[in-house]
């Protein structure tokens, strides 16, 4: 039963129409941008360039991918009314939610990892980013599940949650990490940056803003891991309770 839920969700997310645009985006945008970045930052080391490209594109695309794929974990079923077939089967609702979330998190992690590889190949011409790439992939996996948990919860709370999720991914996650004081700790991106430990942008304020690292972020890698894992677990548990407790009807019937 669990396998069926997981693999059906995986199959849905890996449908060519859904999956291919992200691959194309990775190849064209991330690889292309990484390749061209030496023009804009000629004096920087390869590691610095990779860190910049990763912060500007890979981490922001991660939030975007998660917003689009994860916020629809159940809201799409509710809007298409197929939720009826799921909630009237002898499967606990929390299992439905959890295994769909895991499948979605896996796909978002893969796409994020693919983008990191594209950035590495774009900057180095190979997988030369090495340790930075490995740290990025770890941050991406943690980020995929943290963003996923948050967007899934929003999807359970609100109709058309994707708009809110996109605003969060583009607006909040771009601006809040750049805010002074403790505000930057209200952004998932700040914790992911702490895990990835990209090289500092020095005094370049413009690049600091672009990479969302202009705030007073002094988090360590281990705090980043613990905070994000705790955040994801807490939100998944809350979502599971919410979905098991409240009524979910096809959208227009409920309104």
């Amino acid at each position: 039963m669990e396998q069926a839920i997981f693999f059906q969700a995986l199959r849905e997310n890996l449908r060519l129409r859904r999956f291919l645009p992200w691959i194309v985006l990775g190849v064209l945008l991330v690889f292309g941008f990484g390749h061209l970045w030496s023009t804009f930052q000629p004096d920087a080391s390869l590691e610095q360039r990779y860190g910049t490209v990763s912060s500007i594109l890979v981490f922001h695309i991660l939030a975007l991918t998660s917003a689009i794929l994860t916020s629809t974990i159940l809201s799409q079923e509710i809007e298409q009314k197929t939720i009826v077939y799921l909630v009237t089967r002898p499967v606990p609702r929390w299992k439905l939610l959890l295994f769909r979330y895991l499948a979605c998190g896996l796909v978002v992690s893969f796409l994020g990892g693919f983008n990191a590889v594209c950035a590495s190949v774009g900057v180095y011409g190979s997988l030369g980013a090495g340790a930075s790439l490995a740290k990025d992939i770890a941050a991406i996996v943690v980020g995929a599940f943290a963003y996923g948990a948050f967007f899934m919860f929003l999807g359970l709370l609100f109709n058309r949650a994707m708009i809110m999720c996109l605003l969060f991914a583009f607006g909040w996650e771009t601006m809040v990490p750049n805010m002074p004081g403790q505000m930057c700790y209200l952004s998932i991106n700040s914790y992911l940056q702490a895990i990835a430990q990209h090289p500092s942008q020095g005094g370049n304020k413009g690049l600091g803003l672009l990479t969302s690292t202009a705030g007073d972020n002094t988090l360590t890698s281990s705090v980043g891991y613990m905070a994000m894992i705790g955040f994801a677990v807490a939100l998944v548990a809350l979502s599971a309770w919410w979905f098991s407790t409240f009524e979910y009807l096809p959208r227009e019937d409920a309104e």
Binding site: M1, Q80, T82, Y85, V91
Partner: protein
């Protein structure tokens, strides 16, 4: 199987079902009511998609809301016409079989069985997006029977089925009922329901107006004069032939002079006399209709009663 005690369900300011008390056991029970009467709400309460606002509803002695124990013994064919359109009918049913807890092999074999039962074997491999309404209804029915449930709820299941499909569907339901299954079928068409069962729950504006045997309700209706219209080229001759039939309350010619309109107290006896007039006396009839033999009239009579 299902026990509802003073169950009400509100949607904000709007009431879906109002103070419904009833029991549903084995055999076929029809849930009859006009559009908006509360049939779907009652079915959603029984299938645990909704919770009652007040009152208690149990299925197999358990609260049904999000209760897998109930769903293990219940099959549901919803009214909605939505599917995973890019799936084939077989893939869709097989996926739901897996959600019912069947192993991959068991799900595959059971899927083939139920697809065969609903007559979709030849077309189950095609994408659902290309299915006709009738084929979609069959697939919905197939998924409701997957785990051989004791109770099957069917929300407007005959919509979109052709006459042959309806006949096959009704035979299938009768077969299931004979095996001791409880089947609740909702419909807004009295004629449709009469062919399936004698056991009725009649909903009107959220309230349970009548329960029990259809014959009782029918006889109540039959106490009221029925309007019958006979389209014929010889209305005067029709009037002459039928004038002696007992229980005719009134008789008049239509303004066009091509029809005879009657009010009859015992329609069954009248139809026998009309058949005799047609067969034995050669009366030419172009059309026959009964304007008040519909659900609205039934409700009107019942409310008046």
């Amino acid at each position: 199987m299902v026990v509802a005690s003073q169950v009400s369900r509100w949607y904000g300011q709007v009431i879906g079902v109002n103070d419904v008390t009833c029991e549903i056991g084995p055999g076929i029970t029809a849930l009859l009511g006009m559009n908006g009467a509360g049939k779907t709400t009652l079915i959603r309460l029984i299938t645990g998609q909704l919770r009652p606002t007040t009152g208690v509803l149990t299925v197999f002695g358990l609260q049904p809301f999000a209760n897998p124990e109930v769903y293990r013994r219940m099959g549901y064919c919803p009214e909605i016409d939505n599917f995973y359109e890019h799936y084939s009918g077989r893939d869709f049913v097989r996926y739901l079989a897996r959600l019912d807890g069947m192993s991959a092999a068991k799900a595959a074999s059971r899927t083939d069985e139920v697809i065969d039962m609903v007559g979709m074997t030849e077309r189950a491999g095609r994408r659902i997006a290309g299915y006709s309404k009738g084929m979609r209804q069959r697939i919905k029915l197939a998924q409701a029977m997957l785990h051989d449930p004791d109770l099957i709820l069917l929300d407007e299941p005959l919509n979109g089925l052709d006459p042959v499909g309806r006949r096959e569907f009704m035979d299938l339901l009768h077969g299931l009922a004979e095996n001791g299954k409880g089947i609740l079928v909702s419909s807004h068409i009295l004629f449709e329901v009469e062919q399936m069962t004698r056991s009725l729950l009649l909903l009107h504006r959220g309230r349970l107006l009548a329960t029990g045997d259809l014959g009782v309700i029918r006889s109540l209706i039959d106490k009221h004069p029925h309007q019958i219209r006979i389209d014929t080229d010889e209305p005067r001759r029709a009037a002459e032939l039928l004038a002696s039939v007992p229980n005719i309350v009134s008789m008049k010619f239509d303004r066009s002079g091509e029809a005879l309109e009657l009010e009859v107290r015992e329609p069954a006896a009248f139809y026998d006399a009309l058949s005799a007039a047609i067969l034995e006396r050669g009366l030419l009839v172009r059309g026959l209709s009964s304007p008040d033999n519909n659900l609205e009239s039934v409700f009107k009579y019942l409310v008046e009663a």
